[in-house]
Structure formats: C-alpha cells, structure tokens
C-alpha cells in the first residue's frame, strides 16, 4: 500500500477547516429544515387558503428536482433576479435547509396524522382553544415521534454537503480535493475525509436507531 503518513499529517489543518464548514452547514441547514418543515406542515394541515396550494406545489417541485440544480438556480439565477448576493456559505445553508424542509414537512405531517382522533375529540369536548390544542396536545405528541426521522435527514444532509462545491463552498471533501491539487496526492486527504464522514455518520445512525426504539416510528 502506498500510504504517506507525512502527507496525511500535512493535510490535517486544511481538512480541519473543511470539517468545521461541513459541521456548520449541517447544523444550520438542519435547524432551518426542522423549523421550515414544521411551518410547511402546519400550513398544509390547517389548509391555510392560497398558502396551502403554494406550499404543495413548492414541496412537489423541490422533491422532483436534484439539489444540485436547485443550488445553481438559487445562486446564479434567483439571487441576481432578486438583486441580492448572499455568500456561498449562506446560500448553501438556505439551499440545504429549504430542500430538506420539503422532506421534513412530510415527516411532521405523518407525525401529526398519527395522533389518535380521540385526542382531537377530547380536546373539542373540553372546549380547549384551537391554538392550545396544537401547542399543548397535538405537537407535544407528534414531534417526539418524528425525531428519529428528522435525525436521518440530518445524516443525509451531512453527506450531501460536498455538492456545494458547485458554488464554491469548501467543505471537508472539497478541502481534501484542494490538498490533493497542491500535493498531487489524493489518497491521504480523501481517505481522511471519508474516515471523518464514517466517524460521524455511523454513531449518529446508531443514536437515531436507539431513539427509534424509545419513541417508536411513525
């Protein structure tokens, strides 16, 4: 095997920067996906006029096209059209967050639907105000049940961050590529980047599975 330890060690500082970017993208993107997904789900469930249809079309559209194309469109077409210029990093967070929100919204919807009808009926029989029924009864039962599914989407998002190279975001895999370009050796940085993904993703999926056993699945 042709493995150069010196090259591996030299690659670490740049890789560390990439790791930080990947983690930041995943954390911020996930937060956006969790919040926006819930907003989408509530708009659909409450059948808010106009917005309901708009969200439906948006969700279907986003789910039917590749993330890479959405990133391109958002960065190179939409932003200039709107006269704004966000950094590649912020664009990446928004693109990942919105893309995954279309998936998490369906997860939330399944969680809400899984709350037994009797809960709604009891709340109604007790005259509990509608808003309170959502915040005090339905969501506290629906959200814990969907946490494992949300965790799975975070893991997917984490592994998809390299695609943001398309707009110049240097995540861990892209920093490995840079190292390779400087040293003409790609084995060490790529392997290290792969090890990093494995070291994070695998324990994370074990955690999700454990959570599934605790709260059940939707």
């Amino acid at each position: 095997m042709d493995w150069d330890w010196q090259n591996a060690i030299n690659a670490l500082p740049l890789l560390a920067e990439g790791i930080l970017v990947t983690v930041e993208l995943t954390v911020l993107g996930s937060l956006l996906a969790y919040v926006l997904g819930l907003v989408f789900a509530l708009i659909r469930q409450l059948r808010v006029p106009v917005l309901n249809q708009a969200v439906y079309l948006f969700v279907e559209g986003v789910r039917s096209t590749p993330l890479l194309i959405q990133v391109f469109v958002f960065f190179y077409l939409l932003q200039p059209a709107l006269g704004i210029r966000l950094s590649a990093f912020v664009t990446g967070v928004i693109a990942l967050g919105v893309h995954y929100a279309t998936y998490t919204s369906e997860v939330y919807r399944a969680g809400i639907e899984a709350v037994p009808k009797g809960q709604w009926e009891a709340a109604r029989a007790l005259s509990i105000p509608r808003m309170r029924v959502w915040t005090g009864i339905i969501l506290p039962q629906a959200v814990p049940r969907v946490l494992p599914a949300l965790g799975n989407y975070t893991i997917s998002m984490f592994k998809e961050t390299p695609l943001l190279l398309a707009i110049g975001v240097v995540d861990v895999l892209n920093s490995a590529k840079e190292v390779g370009a400087e040293t003409f050796r790609v084995i060490e940085p790529y392997t290290l980047a792969g090890v990093f993904f494995l070291l994070v993703s695998y324990p994370a999926s074990i955690l999700v599975r454990r959570l599934e056993r605790r709260v059940g699945t939707v």
Partner: protein, 267 residues
C-alpha cells in the same frame, strides 16, 4: 358576558326533534325525537350500530345533523334563529353551547403528554379562564371524589384503564357541565375494573343535578342508576320506559330479544 334574554324554547334539558343523521347513503338516525328532563339519568340501550353513540356525538358537536334540530337547555345546539329563519349556527355559538356539555369516551382519551393533574386543569384554565390555583384545587377535590388523590403526579400511561377512566370523568366534571355524556365508558375495561368506574358514576349521579345521557351494555348499572331507559333499534326509539318496567316487562318483542341476547352473552 351577558347573553340576550331568550325565552326558553322548551323546559327539557335535551330535546331532539326529527333529527336525521346519515353517513353517506347509510341513514343512522331517521326522524328521531325524544326529550330528557333536567337532572334525569337516561340510558340508551340497543344493538351495535343502532345509532346510540351517534346521538352522543351529535350532542357533543363532534358530528353535525343532516336534518331536524337539537335543543340543549332551551337553546338550539347547532342552529340559530336569524331573521326569523333557522340557520346553521356559527362556531362562536357552538363554542358556547359545547361548554355546557361534557363527554366521557370509551377509550378515555386522556392527554398522554400531561400528568393527571394537568389533564384535569387544562380545560378549566384554557377554556373557562380559571386561575391555575383555582383549577388545581378543584382538580384535587375531583380526584379525591374518584378515589385517585394519590395519582396527582402520575402520567396517564402509568394508570390502569379503570384509573384512566376515572381521571377522564374528573376531567369532564372539572368543566362543571350541565350534561354529561357517557359513551360506553366501561367497554374498554378489564372486567374487574368496571365496578370501580360505575360506582364513581353512580355516586356522581346521586349527588349532583347533572343530566346524564348514557350508552352502555352494563344492564345492571343501567337498572340501578337510570330514571329512564330507551331501547334503540335501527335509528329509532322502539321502547322508552322506567328501568324496572323495561328490564322486567318489556312491551316490544325486539327489546325482549335484545335483553335475552345480552344475558346469554354475559352468562
């Protein structure tokens, strides 16, 4: 909030006039009429699918009528008079009427994310505007009454079915309803837990002036607590009598056959 003075339409607490309810093409209730007097305990018996539960759900406004009218305490439940015409009532009217009625469900339907105490205080605080302290004091009294003072801090899932149902009864009473609807409240319970729930209900029926409308298959209980029993079949009341009469000398052959079937099943 003062309500405009209305001449009561009727002295009955509950009055059904020619009520029709359909699910698709299936007619569940056809031109159903009956009344329940204030403070009366009326039990509905009859085969499954005869529309008994639908009556309770219509009263709780969990279903809407397809024809006829329902009055509660001298007011239309889901209609309003506007320009001399009877129209479907708005949500505000329904909300006001709903507060007069409580319901206990077959499946208890406690809120699993709340402890026992909060299950009972939630509605008085959120819907009646009681202070937390007032609501909690009342909840403790009610838990005492249903024999569960030691379960204040328990989660519903830690309780037996019978205990959950007694909490559900306390929860319904916390809203101080004029009418309490009991929808097969012991059907989901293990046999040895039934008596505890029925004793609590009997005690409430005897010590309050709440009007009860009860759907049950517990014939002994029905005979013990009811002022009146209505035998239901295919969406109609086919016999309506005092329990001692209906259970011992039913006039209708259908009633006799039904009672015999219940006895055979439990034997």
């Amino acid at each position: 909030m003062s309500e405009p003075y209305r001449t009561p339409l009727t002295s009955a607490m509950i009055q059904f006039d020619d009520v029709v309810k359909k699910f698709g093409d299936h007619v569940v209730l056809s031109d159903l009429s009956f009344t329940v007097k204030p403070g009366e305990f009326v039990t509905l018996i009859g085969p499954s699918g005869s529309g008994k539960t639908t009556i309770l759900r219509l009263l709780m406004t969990l279903e809407t009528v397809d024809g006829g009218t329902i009055q509660v305490g001298g007011e239309y439940l889901s209609h309003e008079e506007r320009d001399g015409r009877l129209v479907t009532a708005d949500e505000k009217h329904l909300r006001r009427m709903r507060k007069r009625i409580g319901m206990v469900f077959q499946q208890f339907n406690l809120f699993p994310n709340m402890k026992v105490l909060q299950n009972i205080t939630e509605a008085p605080v959120r819907a009646l505007g009681l202070s937390k302290a007032e609501a909690e004091q009342r909840a403790r009294e009610l838990l005492d009454m249903v024999g569960l003072s030691d379960k204040v801090d328990a989660h519903p899932m830690q309780l037996s079915g019978g205990q959950q149902q007694r909490v559900a009864i306390a929860r319904a009473l916390a809203m101080r309803p004029e009418i309490l609807l009991l929808d097969e409240v012991t059907s989901a319970l293990d046999p040895e837990l039934v008596a505890g729930v029925l004793n609590v209900l009997k005690q409430i029926a005897e010590t309050t002036d709440i009007t009860f409308l009860c759907v049950t298959h517990e014939m002994q209980f029905a005979q013990d607590v009811s002022d009146r029993v209505m035998m239901f079949d295919q969406g109609r009341v086919i016999e309506d009598a005092a329990p001692e009469k209906l259970f011992t000398q039913p006039e209708q052959e259908r009633t006799r056959a039904f009672l015999q079937a219940v006895i055979d099943r439990s034997a």
